[in-house]
């Protein structure tokens, strides 16, 4: 920072040199202050998660005392066990894996197909339909839950997993995301060449579109999985503690199902762990996906 301010008032002879420096101004090396501030941000981001683990390793009584514990205790596994068995986190993790897995596969598949059609194929009303998709991207889930609840109870499906899978099988975001990616990542000549060779549309999808779309499909899959795993409003209406997803089990914990703060923290930790692992493994891709979606969105 200081260097560039100092170079500013120099004379015209220093022009070219100055220009180069300032041209790269945006990628200036970070100074110590930047690292300090970033560290503060990082601490604020991570501390609550680390402290969840600390609290999960203590007892309910200890957590009610002042000062709050700052380091790990010896009760982690007992609390995790309680959360797994009593609070139903075990069942919930299995259910959430299944639900989020189904939603991810279906969203990625159907979004790629629809995104390809919007990106590269010409058909009637394509612009109107795309606008409709974008426009409805931001309708809150509250606008759907009453009819969904009435239909699902008509079907006698209360508390069954398909009630939370079916309404989430596709997202407008997914289709828009794939469309934006394929517009520039899939060369139109490639499709035309395949057509000249007499390939049917299905073959083109399989042999041309899917390979080109693979990186975006992976990112959309990760984002969708996170979204589905964390979905809250509709699952807590549609399911209860008898057959919960992770968020439903956590909701039960929070409303006093097991009134033990250490167990509640163990539950929060367990329910977040799969996503933290995913972030550890694929953090770079997830970050890239969000930034990609942002530029074009």
């Amino acid at each position: 920072m200081t260097t560039s301010e100092l170079t500013l008032p120099t004379t015209a002879e220093a022009g070219p040199r100055r220009r180069r420096m300032l041209g790269a101004g945006k990628q200036l090396n970070a100074g110590p202050v930047t690292y300090v501030v970033l560290t503060v941000f990082a601490l604020v981001s991570l501390a609550p998660l680390v402290w969840t683990a600390v609290a999960a390793s203590r007892t309910d009584r200890r957590l009610a005392q002042t000062p709050p514990p700052l380091w790990f205790g010896g009760n982690l596994f007992r609390n995790l066990q309680s959360a797994w068995d009593e609070a139903g986190l075990g069942t919930a993790m299995l259910n959430s894996t299944f639900v989020a897995g189904m939603i991810t596969v279906s969203t990625v598949l159907f979004s790629t197909l629809a995104g390809f059609a919007f990106a590269k194929l010409r058909f009637r009303f394509s612009n109107v339909l795309l606008l409709l998709t974008i426009g409805t991207m931001m309708i809150p889930p509250q606008l759907a839950v009453v009819p969904l609840y009435l239909w699902m109870s008509d079907l006698g499906w209360s508390n069954q997993l398909q009630t939370v899978i079916l309404p989430s099988l596709v997202t407008a975001f997914g289709t828009f995301f794939m469309r934006q990616y394929l517009v520039q990542a899939l060369p139109t000549e490639l499709i035309e060449a395949a057509r000249v060779d007499g390939a049917s549309s299905l073959r083109i999808v399989w042999h041309v579109v899917f390979p080109a779309a693979r990186p975006a499909m992976a990112v959309l899959g990760l984002l969708t999985f996170v979204f589905a795993w964390n979905d809250f409003l509709w699952p807590i209406i549609a399911l209860n503690q008898q057959n919960p997803t992770v968020q439903v089990a956590l909701n039960s914990l929070g409303t006093g199902y097991v009134p033990d703060q250490a167990v509640i923290m163990a539950g929060a930790l367990l329910g977040t762990l799969p996503l933290l692992v995913a972030f550890l493994l694929f953090g770079k891709q997830i970050v890239g996906g969000i930034m990609q979606g942002a530029v074009k969105g």
């Binding site: 941000f41 809250f232 770079k284």
Partner: protein, 341 residues
């Protein structure tokens, strides 16, 4: 395609054939009939494929999306005009605008609307400003830049439920981490659960914690797309780094900032999980005095705790109308921005 071909093959057979009026007149008349037939079958299939496949590709998406998002939207409007009780789902009677009149004369509705607005402001404004600053820092050339970005995004991996459970414990009245830290700065313990501003701030802080990193990445992406020569000419004009940020970065980011404001507003309008779980056992009331009951929470409370699904539908549609207004304002602002540029 077949007709002109045949017409060309037999230019002299009849005047009508040349103009394509008798397409079926000649096939099989010479040796080319059979391949032409196969050709036409193939080309017809090809054309059918070209025409139908786009619709086939978008069909699964639109069928599912329509059935579970668009149709329910309309049904919610329909139910909002009916008396629908959770205890008697089969007895739905026409109620006209009663549910809406009921809402407009309800103190709890206006309270929830006000809370949604204040919590929305407290959570969105600091969040986006912090995200902007964070993005600016992340835009420097950093050691381990990916690691920094992933770390900033980890709160996003934490679900609303998990984050709120943890923050509720951090905010507890006695023995809570936050009051304990405040005590070091000589601040008296705050009753984060019961006080008006305290509870609203606590709920907002959960939102801020979860979303700041995410928005910072969106700003960062937009910052990286700003052409460097803009900074060069600003520097030549003698702008220091703060002035460059103020007069180059911010104006260039304006569409992105508007975008995040809209998205955050939408998120704030439907805020639900944080206040619900922050309230613990009686969470749907949003505190003993309804001090942090948001519209989303009020809807859940009326629909599934009180059991009045018709009224809940009316609340949902009120939220939708609010968002339509937001979208309209956004559109106007956008247009004005574009004109001024």
């Amino acid at each position: 395609m077949t007709n002109p071909k045949q017409a060309l093959a037999q230019p002299a057979s009849s005047p009508d054939a040349a103009s394509g009026k008798q397409p079926g007149a000649a096939p099989g008349a010479d040796g080319r009939g059979a391949p032409a037939g196969a050709d036409s079958w193939r080309s017809r299939l090809y054309r059918w494929d070209m025409k139908a496949s786009p619709y086939a590709f978008i069909a699964p998406f639109f069928l599912l999306f329509g059935a579970f998002s668009l149709v329910p939207l309309l049904y919610t409007a329909w139910y909002s005009l009916h008396d629908v009780q959770l205890s008697a789902l089969d007895h739905q009677t026409w109620a006209g605008l009663d549910n809406y009149k009921n809402l407009l004369s309800s103190d709890f509705f206006w309270n929830a609307l006000g809370n949604t607005f204040t919590i929305g402001v407290i959570s969105t404004v600091p969040q986006l400003m912090a995200a902007l600053g964070l993005a600016h820092l992340l835009n420097y050339r950093l050691r381990g830049s990916t690691v920094w970005r992933v770390v900033m995004l980890t709160p996003y991996a934490t679900s609303v439920a998990a984050a709120t459970l943890v923050f509720t414990l951090l905010y507890s009245w006695d023995g809570g981490m936050i009051n304990w830290i405040l005590h070091f700065f000589g601040v008296d313990p705050v009753n984060w659960r019961e006080s008006d501003w305290g509870s609203q701030f606590a709920v907002s802080s959960i939102v801020i914690w979860r979303w700041t990193g995410y928005n910072a990445l969106i700003y960062l992406a937009a910052m990286q797309a700003i052409p460097t020569d803009l900074y060069e000419s600003a520097a030549i004009d003698g702008a220091n780094r703060w002035q460059q940020f103020r007069h180059v970065t911010i104006p260039q980011l304006r569409p992105t900032i508007l975008f995040t404001v809209v998205v955050s507003t939408i998120g704030a309008t439907q805020l639900f999980g944080e206040p619900l779980l922050f309230g613990g056992v009686s969470g749907s009331k949003g505190g003993s005095e309804h001090q942090y009951q948001t519209l989303g929470l009020y809807m859940y409370d009326q629909g599934w705790i009180i059991g009045n699904l018709g009224k809940a539908s009316a609340i949902a549609w009120s939220m939708f109308l609010i968002l339509l207004v937001v979208a309209a304002v956004n559109l106007l602002l956008n247009r004005r921005l574009r004109k001024s540029q």
